[in-house]
């Protein structure tokens, strides 16, 4: 090697990028695709069933969310969800199941710090930002809608 990669941090970062193995992105994307698609399809079947039973659209969507969140919470508690997540990556993270997992996993992990400040306080360490940004965005959009109304 003729060049000295330690000359400056930028050079070193480039050098390290070359040295570090990349994630197997094609395989990851394939797994994410079919697991994510499957989770959405399970949701679709639940949705169709709700409609079949006569529920209206918005309520059916809520039922889908609750059922998928319940399943994800259950699998997280059984220590199975992290294995699915390792295999599927974004395939289980991006659907609402990932949101549920990100709330349930700290709840279980921080149980040792007590039910109030442990479970209660740490439950939103990963998912809190989702609610902060999601809800803030909805309020801003609502305010903008008021201006145009």
């Amino acid at each position: 090697m003729s060049e000295n990669p330690l000359e400056n941090p930028q050079k070193y970062n480039e050098y390290v990028d070359k040295k570090s193995p990349n994630s197997p992105i094609l395989k990851n994307c394939f797994n994410a695709f079919w697991v994510g698609g499957l989770i959405c399809s399970i949701g679709q079947i639940i949705f169709d069933f709700c409609k079949y039973k006569g529920l209206e659209q918005q309520s059916s969507n809520t039922v889908v969310a609750i059922v998928l969140i319940g399943i994800a919470a259950f699998l997280t508690g059984l220590n199975i969800f992290n294995k699915i997540g390792k295999f599927a990556g974004a395939g289980s993270l991006i659907p609402i199941t990932g949101f549920a997992n990100s709330i349930v996993s700290p709840a279980i992990e921080y149980k040792s710090e007590g039910y109030v400040m442990g479970v209660g306080g740490k439950m939103f360490t990963v998912a809190g930002p989702v609610l902060v940004y999601g809800i803030s965005a909805s309020v801003i959009i609502g305010i903008i809608a008021t201006l145009f109304a």
């Binding site: 570090s20 992290n82 289980s92 997992n101 990100s102 996993s105 700290p106 279980i108």
Partner: protein
């Protein structure tokens, strides 16, 4: 004790590493070095209720084992140096609260074990102590919880990530003894090459290891071939590769006798540990288990330990700070040792 070159200390009457002990968790027990450890656990909790309590128990039992094996009573041990990865080093302080030995808390991240041995050696050679206890621990679960994510979170570990070793190593250093001796120490500088990826610790630490390594060679006038084994702490596969590369730029070829504890402790192909092991427990258990036994059996006589630590915490990485590596620890360690034949 006198200083050689820029930053190396040479001991007049080198302290002996009288005895060592190591306890490791279940995953390490399935690794290639399993038979060298004193005790292999089959449960990460070891009967405790939390990861943190389990880690404290591991360090406590390791220390007790090292003292028992050394045949030195704990009242004859003057000081102990210990540390770990958890905030404010709670594993060590809770684990060692009952042993009644004056305590120095040490933080050098993953280099803590070697840093403790350096400090202990200086105490002994200075005449301030006859016997010193050094110990560190790490626990995969408590480290993940503190530094990364809850264990139940379904995330993917990138190929550059490393697996924190669950385990503890302890060493008793003595003024009198027949070796292996700690003859030189080279505390390293803090080196920061601007790596911000918390999932690529080996690459972040490699420049610090390299810096200390080269300084050690220059200060002592030794060549890499002087040592039977040159061992870094937990650079993993990527960091190991980088250190070899960097040494070549300075004209040192270390590939013949160089290895890394993070590479040795796990079997990458069957244990899915990606870039290798890491954590305070990595070099502590590999040295106390594997290397010390090789020294005792005289299969190897001269060892250079170079431990590195990632001086970061979860707040600094969220603030976009890069990960300085401590080389302080890194450094060196030691040992050149020889067992029983060199004085």
């Amino acid at each position: 004790m006198n200083k050689l070159g820029k930053q190396t200390i040479k001991f007049d009457s080198p302290p002996t590493i009288t005895e060592v002990a190591s306890i490791v968790g279940p995953k390490e027990s399935e690794g290639p070095l399993a038979k060298y450890f004193d005790k292999c656990l089959d449960d990460e909790f070891w009967g405790e209720k939390t990861w943190e309590k389990a880690e404290s128990k591991i360090i406590k039992e390791t220390v007790n084992m090292a003292i028992a094996k050394s045949n030195i009573s704990s009242s004859e041990i003057d000081f102990c140096f210990a540390g770990d990865l958890l905030n404010q080093c709670i594993s060590s302080s809770f684990g060692l609260r009952d042993i009644n030995i004056p305590f120095f808390g040490v933080f050098g991240a993953c280099s803590t074990f070697v840093e403790s041995m350096c400090l202990g050696s200086v105490f002994i050679d200075a005449g301030a102590a006859k016997n010193i206890l050094c110990s560190t621990s790490s626990h995969f679960c408590s480290a993940e919880k503190q530094f990364r994510f809850p264990l139940e979170l379904g995330n993917q570990r990138p190929p550059t990530s490393q697996w924190t070793v669950t385990g503890s190593g302890a060493a008793v250093l003595s003024k009198d003894g027949n070796g292996p001796f700690i003859t030189h120490i080279t505390p390293g500088k803090i080196v920061d090459m601007g790596i911000k990826d918390a999932n690529n610790m080996g690459a972040a630490m490699a420049p610090a290891a390299f810096d200390t390594l080269i300084t050690h060679f220059e200060d002592t006038g030794r060549k890499p071939s002087y040592y039977d084994v040159i061992l870094t702490g937990d650079l993993g596969y990527i960091g190991k590769d980088i250190v070899k590369d960097l040494c070549k730029t300075k004209g040192y070829n270390i590939s013949g006798n160089y290895n890394d504890c993070g590479v040795l402790i796990f079997d990458k192909s069957t244990q899915d540990t990606h870039s290798g092991g890491s954590g305070c427990g990595c070099i502590a258990t590999v040295f106390s288990g594997y290397i010390y036994k090789q020294l005792q059996e005289k299969k190897i006589n001269k060892v250079l330990l170079v431990a590195t630590g990632a001086l970061t915490n979860s707040t600094s990485s969220q603030q976009g700070e890069s990960i300085p590596r401590n080389s302080t620890c890194h450094s060196n360690r030691k040992l050149s040792t020889n067992i029983k034949n060199i004085f």
